[in-house]
């Protein structure tokens, strides 16, 4: 997939500006609440990019591995920002965890995502896993297993756009875009321009139709 440009945030910032309505808003269940707008997501990613540069002493040896589906575009956006802020080219790849899940026996097979090893591999490098939502922690556990089969990184860190709590495993993120206290019945929905046509993070109550963010 070719690298895609960062989508423009709304340019009209005059006081009376109302962001254009999200297309699906009419069809949404009543209990849906938007928590991050496109410009919030952009700011959050700016901050994470700066934090990565700070915490890794300038991004030396860093590899960003996005977990499909939505971790991939997030990792790409972070890499673009790091390049813009510090002029550093960090490694970029993706890591599909489907075959490492712990519920393969009981869940019907799902389509596989792409695993793309960054040029130069991951041996001896600082791998930062990138995902949209941190929830039970099981996706990250699977990702750690998957990493072992790809090579031996110097260290592994985790960056997520949203941490919604309810961990079932001893896992925490190193970089968090937004902490979002949620109830277990609620659904956190992340939409990104690259995969869903627009940037938005929202919470829905009770509906099980969420397309992402259950990890």
């Amino acid at each position: 997939m070719p690298a895609q440009p960062i989508p423009d945030t709304p340019t009209d910032l005059s006081p009376g500006f109302i962001p254009p309505a999200v297309p699906q808003s009419a069809a949404r269940p009543a209990g849906t609440k938007t928590v991050l707008q496109p410009d919030d997501i952009a700011r959050v990613l700016d901050r994470i990019a700066h934090q990565i540069l700070e915490k890794t002493s300038g991004g030396e040896g860093v590899v960003l591995l996005g977990i499909p589906t939505r971790g991939e575009p997030l990792a790409r956006r972070l890499a673009e920002r790091i390049a813009a802020f510090a002029g550093v080219e960090v490694g970029l790849g993706s890591l599909d965890i489907t075959l490492y899940r712990d519920d393969l026996r009981t869940q019907a097979s799902r389509p596989l995502g792409r695993t793309v090893e960054p040029a130069g591999g991951i041996d001896g490098r600082l791998v930062i896993l990138v995902d949209d939502v941190l929830y039970s922690g099981r996706t990250v556990r699977a990702a750690l297993d998957a990493l072992t089969d790809l090579g031996r990184p110097r260290a592994v860190q985790l960056a997520v756009l949203v941490d919604r709590g309810h961990r079932q495993l001893p896992i925490r993120a190193d970089y968090v875009g937004k902490n979002l206290p949620t109830a277990a019945e609620e659904q956190v929905r992340v939409r990104l321009a690259e995969t869903d046509g627009a940037d938005e993070v929202s919470i829905a109550t009770g509906s099980k139709t969420s397309t992402g963010g259950t990890s």
Partner: protein, 341 residues
């Protein structure tokens, strides 16, 4: 999702594409340090082979092992089958050992489907008589897709011993599902009964077909093996085996073999496929088999990735309560399906 893979007709277009896409990801494992995925850890796959096979059995074995399943091979030779055990008893015995999936090859058409009536686990048909060989069709489609891109609108010519070919039947179904056009070429004696209902163009003239005069320009040609072992009882007597189908092997090679001259009739981009094992000098010349346009070894390599994808799709979620049975299968006519226990 399907429970068994018995026929390429069990698939719908979306499932077929999903398996091919998964195979694309599975194929990447060949370049990795650790060729192992944990998807089927703790599961057991039995390869039950009542017929000789090199590539199918070994690629099913590798596929299972790369997905971390425990793989057991049972072949007719050296098992209780040679003591006269029936298919049903053998299948039940193997199932009683606690098997999670059964891969079966059998000389009788319909054997795999019959076995699904006796065992509870997913069953993969790895070739049943002259009926079907769905994973071969999937790996052919995978190989073709890599070379040509999407197969919708492509024109594939299948040449040779169609009557005895399970590969042809599965390919006709799958290529049709993926939107490709298929032309079948064989001498009249090797054209299957009922072929007119298969929805393909048929021809007896290989030269005209390859040069695009029968059904338009050709995007790929698949040569099939002349299956001497299925051509009557004289199988030990060399040329006599083909009695009734064509006068001599030499005549067959001249009329239906992929000679260097016929290779030149094909458009530049069109690859050559052969499911193997090849009879060099009979249905395919060494020049064609070893040319850069030959995808024979790509097909073998694709076999592992495609069979990994098939095992994954059948076995993931197989513990799910109330998993639906597969719907009514599509069948090609001209093939009697019936195996007695």
């Amino acid at each position: 999702m399907i429970r068994h893979l018995l026929s390429a007709g069990d698939l719908d277009a979306a499932t077929a594409r999903e398996i091919l896409d998964s195979a694309e990801q599975m194929d990447a494992i060949q370049h990795r340090q650790v060729k192992k995925l944990p998807a089927l850890r703790g599961r057991t796959v039995v390869n039950l082979f009542f017929e000789d096979s090199t590539r199918t059995r070994s690629s099913f074995e590798i596929a299972g092992k790369w997905l971390s399943a425990d793989v057991v091979n049972v072949s007719a030779k050296g098992s209780s089958v040679s003591k006269g055990e029936s298919l049903r008893d053998t299948a039940l015995t193997v199932a009683a050992l606690g098997v999670d999936a059964l891969v079966i090859r059998h000389p009788s058409s319909g054997a795999a489907r019959r076995v699904t009536e006796w065992v509870d686990c997913p069953v993969v048909n790895a070739g049943d008589g002259t009926h079907e060989h769905p994973t071969q069709a999937l790996l052919d489609a995978f190989t073709l897709r890599r070379r040509l891109g999407e197969l919708a609108g492509r024109h594939v010519v299948i040449v040779g011993d169609l009557t005895h070919s399970r590969v042809a039947r599965s390919n006709v179904l799958l290529l049709g599902l993926l939107g490709a056009q298929v032309t079948l070429v064989a001498p009249p004696t090797l054209m299957p009964a009922g072929v007119h209902s298969w929805g393909c163009t048929t021809s007896w003239d290989l030269d005209a077909t390859l040069s695009g005069k029968v059904a338009g320009d050709v995007d790929a040609v698949m040569m099939l093996r002349v299956q001497r072992e299925r051509m009557g009882s004289g199988s030990s007597g060399g040329g006599k085996a083909t009695v009734g189908y064509f006068p001599t092997e030499r005549e067959y090679a001249i009329n239906y073999g992929l000679s260097p001259a016929r290779l030149r009739l094909l458009p530049e981009h069109a690859p050559v496929l052969h499911p193997g094992p090849m009879n060099r000098g009979l249905e395919i010349s060494s020049v064609a088999a070893d040319s850069p346009r030959s995808l024979v070894l790509d097909q073998v390599r694709a076999g592992v990735a495609v069979r990994m994808a098939v095992l994954y799709h059948l076995m993931a979620g197989s513990d799910e309560p109330g998993r639906a049975e597969s719907s009514e299968p599509r069948q090609l006519s001209g093939e009697g399906v019936g195996v007695r226990a």
